[in-house]
């Protein structure tokens, strides 16, 4: 058991920035941390790390941080594991956080385990749900699972204030709730796209502290010799409000053109099941699911997607789901709010025409 169980305090969100721009997952984490902090009676502290990132502090406050710590060094512009680890371990030793949250991105999932091993505490990967309050945790379990509430209550009691970290395992077949009761900080990486954003409070004030980490040249133990940004426009389907998604049932790569027309009409993007990415019909960046992206748009339109569990894991939290599939027994219908049994190749062109007509009648361009 670590010694700081009693003293450790507040929820720290490690902001992720690239080229000086803070990632959306950071905003999501700040929103979630706010809810958890209220249940704990503690504060939300954003930790921005990088080179020349002090001007990000205001945005952190507006998205929900009570205070901001800016960990700044000219050499921290691009992510490198060791100096980022060392700087954040210094922050943890100085401030004694109760909870530290990271985005479960290719940075967070490299950085957080290294930090957890160095401070010797627990880390839970790729969480999709977090709770402090036991009643809220039970409400969540009741709504989403078959878990045995009484057994958990006997184990933890109703007053437990540790972080209950819930995550999928076995390719989304099972969910598990994990705790780190005897070590601090409690650490988790959280999957992008699953926590809801809270409304930005423009002009919100809060304390901003600048911390200069103690780093030597030896800490920069790898050399970035080249940086290549992915070619073309990088589409982030997790940012889209509407996704029109194609599965094997669309029949050909060319049919994505039809889906694109509908997506354009609805102000959205096209996305895909894994099968079509594997077939080379569409780029990997648009893949939804366990091995692709997790999305929660306002509208997810699943076109010719049967709904393998790995796909459902990536989209079932969408606000509204429309499924179109020829097979009336397709599992996608189990999660769809509106299910249409039919051939997407017939329905989609007709839907596009109908949308056109609708916009014309309502004089929307």
């Amino acid at each position: 058991m670590s010694k700081n169980i009693e003293s450790a305090k507040d929820i720290y969100v490690v902001a992720e920035q690239r080229d000086g721009k803070v990632a959306k997952v950071t905003h999501e984490l700040l929103g979630e941390a706010n809810i958890l902090a209220k249940d704990l009676g503690e504060k939300v502290i954003a930790v921005v790390i990088g080179a020349n990132v002090a001007d990000q502090a205001q945005e952190m406050l507006e998205y929900g941080a009570d205070e901001v710590i800016v960990v700044e060094d000219d050499r921290l512009g691009e992510y490198i594991t060791e100096p980022y680890t060392k700087a954040l371990v210094q922050m943890i030793e100085e401030y004694d956080p109760n909870i530290v949250l990271f985005g479960a991105t290719s940075i967070g999932r490299d950085l957080a385990p290294r930090i957890a091993a160095r401070v010797h505490t627990g880390l839970t990967a790729d969480c999709t749900h977090l709770d402090i309050d036991m009643q809220k945790y039970f409400d969540f379990l009741k709504a989403t699972s078959t878990a045995d509430r009484d057994a958990i209550e006997r184990k933890l009691g109703m007053d437990d204030k540790t972080l209950k970290m819930t995550r999928p395992a076995f390719g989304g077949n099972v969910m598990a709730t994990i705790r780190c009761a005897e070590y601090r900080p409690q650490m988790a990486t959280v999957r992008p796209g699953v926590m809801k954003l809270v409304e930005k409070q423009v002009g919100k004030q809060g304390k901003v502290t600048i911390m200069k980490p103690d780093l030597t040249d030896e800490d920069f133990n790898v050399e970035i010799v080249d940086i290549a940004k992915s070619e073309g426009k990088i589409v982030d389907i997790t940012e889209a409000k509407v996704l029109v998604s194609g599965g094997r049932g669309i029949g050909s790569a060319a049919f994505y053109g039809e889906l694109q027309k509908v997506a354009d009409r609805l102000g959205g993007e096209i996305s895909s099941s894994r099968a079509n990415v594997d077939a080379g019909w569409i780029e990997k960046a648009r893949q939804v699911g366990q091995t692709g992206k997790t999305v929660r748009p306002d509208l997810y339109m699943a076109c010719g997607i049967s709904g393998a569990i790995q796909h459902l894991a990536g989209m079932e939290n969408s606000e509204y789901i429309i499924a179109i599939n020829k097979n009336e027994d397709a599992p996608i219908f189990e999660v769809a709010d509106l299910g249409i049994v039919g051939d997407v190749k017939v329905i989609i062109p007709k839907l596009y025409e109908a949308l056109d007509k609708y916009f014309e009648e309502h004089q929307i361009n």
């Binding site: 991105t105 999932r109 999660v335």
Partner: protein, 263 residues
């Protein structure tokens, strides 16, 4: 040069089902395989060995129950030189932190220039053990490796991010975590399979590693994280489903989009 590849034997998660009554995973009859990313790491290690052709060796390390022996035999049949199975009751129930402590203790004893692990396992999906081994060994890590080139004591790694690549130069000793895309694994060949069963697998239990291991840091009791409960997801209730002519279906969609203020 000594390359050590850490692998995990995992159930093929595509075949895993949940018992609706007990909420437990039904593992009976589910095939066990070498985790995909780890197999790609083995392939990469073998390619480096073959290319250098200078006496470089490939050692495989796996922590798991005695049955994980099968995974090690497969790696030997692919062409690895030697294999270690870390297996003990004391290791059971370890989380990523405790697992990394056990494996890194073994690696210190085995010795290494380059350590390769898979990026993540398909059962736990944590991606934590590789970086945590690197931390315990005090060596640099480069995770999400998509291409690896060895030049003397230096390794050049193409490291994948969501929106970019870094070409990273790192000095050995170091640890890399392999993406499945890193190297398409070869098949075992007949001669290799026969050789694999003639080679010895070294089995290390707690006593073999106890000089470097604090029993309080391993196993279920030494793990900072504990599972409170695991459960099957209750699927969100299905909404309405229509099996009607296309024109009618389209009108239903339009009405719903309007009702939800999506148009």
């Amino acid at each position: 040069m000594k390359i050590v590849v850490c692998i995990k034997q995992v159930p093929d998660t595509n075949e895993v089902k949940l018992d609706p009554v007990t909420n437990r995973l039904i593992r009976d009859g589910v095939p066990s395989i070498i985790n995909h990313d780890d197999k790609s790491a083995i392939e990469q290690a073998l390619r480096i060995k073959e290319e250098l052709n200078d006496g470089t060796t490939v050692t495989i390390v796996c922590m798991g129950p005695p049955q994980a022996d099968v995974a090690l035999r497969e790696a030997l049949a692919m062409g690895a030189d030697e294999a270690y199975l870390l297996s003990a009751r004391e290791f059971g129930g370890s989380d990523t932190c405790a697992t990394a402590i056990i494996i890194s203790t073994a690696l210190k004893r085995i010795g290494f220039d380059l350590v390769l692990t898979g990026r993540q396992a398909i059962d736990g999906d944590t991606a934590q053990v590789g970086p945590q081994i690197a931390e315990n060994l005090g060596v640099p890590q480069v995770s999400y490796a998509e291409e690896v080139t060895v030049n003397g004591k230096e390794v050049l790694v193409k490291r994948q991010y969501e929106d970019r690549y870094h070409m990273i130069k790192v000095q050995m000793p170091c640890l890399l975590t392999a993406l499945q895309e890193l190297a398409e694994p070869r098949y075992m060949h007949a001669g290799g399979i026969i050789d694999a069963y003639n080679k010895d697998i070294t089995v290390w239990g707690f006593d073999d590693l106890k000089d470097g291991l604090n029993p309080d840091d391993i196993g279920l009791m030494g793990s900072p994280t504990r599972v409170v409960t695991s459960f099957g997801k209750m699927q969100k209730g299905a909404g309405v489903k229509y099996d009607v002519p296309a024109e009618e279906a389209v009108q239903i969609i339009i009405d719903k989009l309007e009702e939800r203020h999506l148009i």
